[in-house]
Structure formats: C-alpha cells, structure tokens
C-alpha cells in the first residue's frame, strides 16, 4: 500500500516543516521539496505501466505515435513546471513562480505545434 | 549499522571534548594570571626587602606555585645559575620565546612580562618597586578582561563543541 507511505511521508514532513518554519523558513522549504520528491519516487514505480497501456492503445488504434509521445512529454513538462513553481510560491516568490509557468507554457506550446499543423492539414484536406 | 552508530558517537564525543578544552582555556588563563600575580608579589618581597640574588629570589618565590609561569621562571633561574656569559635580558627573551604560542597564556600578559623583564635589575630599589606595582596593576586589568572573555565565550565553546559534533554526525549519517 503506497498510499499509506505517501500519507506518512506527507504528515511527517509537514510536522517538521511547521517546527522549523519559525526559526529557519528556508530550511522548511527544503523539507517540503524533499517530501515532494520522495512522494513522486513512490508513485514513479507505477507510472511506466500507465505509459505502457497508453502505448498499447495507440498501437491497436493505429494513431500516429508522434501524438501520444508528444502528449506524454507535455504531461511530464507540466508536472515539473508545476513542481518548480509551487516551490517558488511556497517561498513567497510569486513573480519567479509565474516566470517558471510562462517558460513551461511556451515549451508546451512548441511541443504542441506539430499536432496543430497536422490538424490544420487534415482540415484543409477535408475541405474541398 | 552498529558500526555507523559507534563511529558517530565517537565523533560527537571527540567534538564535545574539543569544545570543553576550548572553554577550559579561558579558565586556565585566569588561573595563570593569578599565579603570575602571586609570583610577582613574592619576587618583590624577595628583591626589595631581603635583597637576595635574583636566581635565588626567583626559586624562592616560585616554590609554592604551579602552572606555566613556574616553568618559565625556573628556566630563567637555571640559565642565570649556570650561564654567566649572557645578560638577564637575553635570558629573559630566550625563555619567553617558549611561551609565545602557549594556548593558556594570553598575548597581553606575555607582553607585560616582556616589558617587566626589560627593566628588572636595571634601576635602584625605589623605581624597582614602582615597576613591580605597574606590572601588578596591568595584570589586574588583564585579569578583569580575561574574566569577561570567559563569561562570554566559555559557555559558548562548551555548547558549540557538542552541537558541531552532532552536526557532523547528522550530515555523515
């Protein structure tokens, strides 16, 4: 049962974070970073199964595999961006957090462009 | 696991003792200054009132005491006895060199004794008495300074050693 481990890590990290926050806020943020990463590693063992299932579905339906890989990349980038910007927000640096989100959005946009062009070509092909 | 715990405990104990040693230095410096004051008082009596030879006066006045200054004064007396070629000032400087980096002796009292040695035996009784008084006063001031330093830092070093040991142990664990 990973969920119990995840809840345990979260509660312990929260208690430590609250304890330290009065004296050293910068170390409290580092505790929350470490807790977030540890929780991610706990679920990271299960994630490849989901990716595998996605790939199976794509192979069966014979959609172009570039779409599904782009989708996965976008999910990954969104996760990391969210992680980073949330940490910056925890430290009270909202402007840096929004810059990180902007960077993530632009890169997702660039990754999404081939899908967009494929879509336009399909639509143009349908149109007489 | 057991080895790790044992080695970490060793680190903590070693750092604690290091901190205790550092804080002990302040106590021992005050002790040395007090001993030095008593030695100078005895020496003054020997020189001013009994007019003994300097080497004998030093040996007599140092006898009841302990510590770093005793070894210094005994060294001076021994050199005075068996080496007639050198003057008192040369011997004094030569013997003081051994105390220069001693952790239990502060720089100020080292310099007070240096200056004191420069004029010892150079003038008549009256000014000798004056110089003794001057050295005693300066030592009194240094004792007060050392007392304040001890109040400030002795406790700090004691806890600093333990905390640093725990810190190293945690980081290495």
């Amino acid at each position: 049962m990973e969920i119990i481990q995840i809840i345990g890590i979260g509660i312990i990290a929260a208690i430590f974070s609250v304890t330290i926050k009065q004296e050293k806020p910068e170390l409290a943020v580092l505790i929350s970073i470490a807790a977030g990463i540890l929780i991610f590693f706990l679920i990271a063992e299960r994630l490849p199964h989901i990716v595998g299932v996605f790939n199976d579905i794509v192979n069966k339906t014979q959609v172009d595999s570039i779409f599904i890989s782009t989708l996965l990349k976008i999910i990954g980038i969104a996760y990391i961006t969210e992680f980073g910007s949330q940490i910056c927000k925890d430290m009270g640096e909202n402007s840096i957090a929004s810059k990180i989100e902007l960077g993530g959005k632009v890169i997702i946009m660039i990754l999404g462009l081939p899908i967009l062009t494929a879509l336009t070509e399909t639509i143009l092909g349908i149109l007489p | 696991m057991l080895l790790k715990i044992i080695s970490n405990l060793t680190i903590i104990v070693c750092c604690t003792f290091l901190g205790l040693h550092m804080s002990y230095r302040y106590n021992y410096r005050i002790y040395n200054i007090k001993i030095l004051q008593s030695i100078l008082a005895h020496l003054e009596t020997e020189i001013i009132h009994y007019s003994t030879f300097l080497s004998q006066a030093i040996i007599n006045s140092v006898r009841p005491f302990e510590g770093e200054w005793k070894t210094f004064f005994l060294k001076v007396a021994a050199s005075l006895e068996d080496n007639n070629e050198h003057s008192l000032i040369d011997i004094w400087i030569e013997c003081l060199k051994g105390l220069k980096n001693n952790p239990y002796i502060g720089k100020p009292e080292y310099e007070i004794i240096y200056r004191f040695g420069m004029q010892l035996g150079g003038t008549d009784k009256k000014s000798q008495e004056k110089y003794f008084k001057l050295a005693q006063e300066q030592l009194k001031i240094e004792e007060n300074n050392a007392q304040q330093l001890r109040l400030r830092y002795s406790k700090m070093y004691r806890s600093l050693g333990l905390l640093l040991g725990i810190g190293i142990a945690i980081v290495l664990f």
Binding site: I20, F40 | M156
Partner: protein
C-alpha cells in the same frame, strides 16, 4: 529512496537554529550568519541530488529526451 533525508534535514534545521541562538547569545552575529549559510548549503547539496534524480526519472518515464 527512503525517508531518512527528511529527518536529516529537520535535524540539521533544528541544530542550526540552536547554534544560531548560542552564537547570538555570545555576541557573534557574523558567525551565526555563517552557520545559517552553511546549514542551508549543506541541506541544499543533499536536496540538489534528489532534484537531479527526480528530473532524470521524469525524463525517462515521459520520454522527454
């Protein structure tokens, strides 16, 4: 991956704050500042390793090469 690192960071944090108190009481503000900095850097070194691991695994799971 184990939870040791959270305990470690918390211990370092508590230790650094106690050290800070001791040094401040002895009137050594600059040393207190330095200990704070050292604590943050040491913890950061531990966490940076973790972050590197996180990014590598995200990269390999989502095929973000």
């Amino acid at each position: 991956m184990n939870i040791d690192i959270i305990f470690k960071i918390a211990a370092v944090g508590i230790l650094v704050s106690v050290l800070n108190q001791v040094l401040l009481r002895a009137g050594r503000e600059e040393m207190a500042m330095l200990t704070t900095l050292t604590g943050v850097v040491v913890v950061l070194l531990m966490v940076v390793n973790l972050i590197n691991n996180l990014f590598n695994s995200v990269k390999s799971i989502f095929r973000l090469y």
